[in-house]
């Protein structure tokens, strides 16, 4: 495992503190001309998603965190566990509801996602930026009311609810941005 010296500190580094993996999301080097250098770091806890501010003096070190990311297929859900499979090694990983977070709304069997693991234990999963999902139920809209700026809640095949334009019907396929959870457009069919 690599040890990072303060002079290696930079945005994007993955480090461990007290056994918890962190992503360095910001690094500010501050140094009065004749004074001691300060390395002000903003660290994102990769388990909880919380932020930590830490300042280091020149010459201090942090251990690299064995964090890796790879493509993984979403297989199925078993009660509160979500099961994924590494596309290359076929190794399976089980994620809790908390680990999956908001991503559950967009997960469909067979979907290729990005899985992040720490010491080979799953941390988080990221679905593709754009997914196409079927509308399981949409309230019928009064004839003629096709204005695009009016939104109504629709239920997706995953069980999630999102806002969609009034013209969307049950059985339609929608393209959705998973980063914002927003409707983009109507699609012709499943991917």
């Amino acid at each position: 495992m690599t040890t990072y010296n303060t002079s290696d500190f930079r945005k994007g580094l993955k480090v461990q503190i007290d056994g918890i993996p962190y992503l360095m999301v910001e690094m500010n080097f501050r140094k009065p001309g004749k004074g001691n250098a300060l390395y002000e770091c903003k660290l994102k806890n990769l388990v909880r998603g919380t932020m930590l501010d830490r300042t280091y003096r020149a010459g201090q070190t942090l251990e690299e965190a064995d964090v890796s990311e790879f493509a993984a297929q979403y297989l199925y859900r078993q009660q509160d566990m979500f099961v994924f499979m590494n596309n290359v090694t076929y190794e399976q990983y089980e994620l809790t509801k908390e680990q999956v977070g908001d991503a559950w709304q967009f997960l469909k069997d067979g979907m290729e996602c990005n899985l992040m693991v720490y010491n080979n234990n799953p941390l988080t999963v990221t679905p593709p930026n754009h997914v196409i999902l079927k509308v399981e139920y949409a309230e019928p809209t009064a004839r003629g009311n096709t204005a695009t700026n009016v939104r109504k809640p629709v239920k997706l095949e995953t069980g999630a609810e999102i806002g969609a334009p009034a013209f969307v019907n049950t059985g339609d396929y929608l393209r959705i941005d998973t980063r914002t959870g927003e409707y983009i457009e109507r699609a012709n069919g499943p991917e």
Binding site: T6, K31, G33, K34, A37, E40
Partner: protein, 339 residues
């Protein structure tokens, strides 16, 4: 048309004004600063040289690599394979010129400091350094102020003592507060204390508070010169007794918009005291787990021969250009930082 006005009209025509900037994120050969910025940087450099020539200064050049370097506690020099150090400032050699009889000298050169990289730092940067024999602390501050007004177009700089700045921002006496009192102030102000920090060291606390709380408030609407540093941070400056009875260093620093631009000294001329301070630096380096640096005997010999009473100052040119041109980091005005 006289020679001067001919030069100016050439400068007024932009050579790079219409050049489309190439995105350095897409083409790794491309400079990080726009050519327009670099052209304006060049114009500022010419104005700076004219400023010194108008005042009778002689431009000099000194080595970038030398077997000796000024030992500093918080500046890590870069060693050169085969021996020697890339100079962290031209001070050592410029003082040797002064001891040999030079009167008013300036230099625009590169300085090197290992590991210093950030929005306002680059391991290699452009430094402007000057000395004038006969100048005391206030004459030195006057000259720096005049230079800032010329290059930044700013009004007269505010002048604030180190002690006043600490009282203003933190309500504490920088010269008499104990480490414990400084720690309490840091805690109240919500300053994150770095791990591995020596809590019994007053200067560590002062530097931490200066960097995180005092500096960002300095020179908000016009440049501000901080002077009379604690004697423990005198470096190569003379130490005198302040009107309040504290020993203070005749050292000054200019800040503008929270950015440290220049550092000056009413220069210490006592070789014995200077040797003692260098030995102290090396002892502190050793305690901090860093290699001591060779004693700069050539500088001490110059001081023994006789360094005339003078004030000197060095200025970070990249930062000055950044502020003058409205950039936010020195990479905006340096062609190839990070190379």
């Amino acid at each position: 048309m006289g020679r001067d006005s001919a030069m100016r009209s050439i400068a007024a025509i932009s050579q790079f004004g219409d050049v489309q900037m190439i995105d350095p994120r897409e083409h790794n050969f491309a400079p990080s600063a726009s050519l327009t910025m670099l052209e304006r940087r060049g114009t500022l450099l010419r104005t700076l040289r004219e400023f010194f020539f108008e005042r009778g200064f002689v431009e000099v050049e000194t080595p970038l690599v030398a077997p000796e370097i000024i030992p500093e506690l918080h500046i890590e020099p870069m060693r050169v394979e085969g021996g020697g150090y890339l100079q962290a400032s031209p001070e050592l050699h410029m003082k040797r010129l002064l001891a040999a009889g030079a009167q008013a000298i300036f230099q625009v050169t590169r300085s090197f400091r290992a590991g210093e990289r950030g929005q306002l730092h680059n391991p290699e940067f452009t430094i402007v350094e000057w000395y004038r024999v006969g100048d005391d602390l206030h004459a030195g501050m006057d000259l720096l102020d005049a230079l800032a007004q010329t290059l930044l177009g700013t009004p007269l700089a505010a002048r604030t003592t180190y002690a006043e700045a600490f009282v203003r921002t933190l309500g504490i006496s920088a010269h008499s507060a104990s480490p414990q009192e400084l720690a309490n102030v840091a805690q109240e102000a919500g300053v994150a204390v770095p791990s591995g920090f020596d809590e019994s060291d007053r200067d560590e606390w002062l530097n931490l508070l200066l960097a995180t709380r005092v500096e960002p408030q300095l020179g908000v609407d016009r440049p501000e010169i901080l002077y009379h540093y604690p004697a423990s941070q005198s470096s190569l400056a003379k130490v005198v007794r302040s009107p309040l009875g504290y020993e203070v260093a005749e050292r000054f620093e200019m800040y503008y918009r929270g950015v440290e631009l220049a550092n000056g000294f009413h220069e210490l001329t006592d070789a014995v005291e200077q040797r003692r301070r260098f030995e102290e630096v090396n002892a502190a380096r050793l305690k901090d787990g860093r290699r001591p640096l060779p004693m700069p005997e050539s500088l001490l010999a110059a001081m023994e021969h006789g360094l005339p009473d003078c004030t000197g100052c060095s200025l970070g040119f990249d930062r000055l250009v950044t502020l003058a041109l409205g950039g936010t980091e020195i990479g905006d005005v340096m062609a190839f930082p990070g190379d």
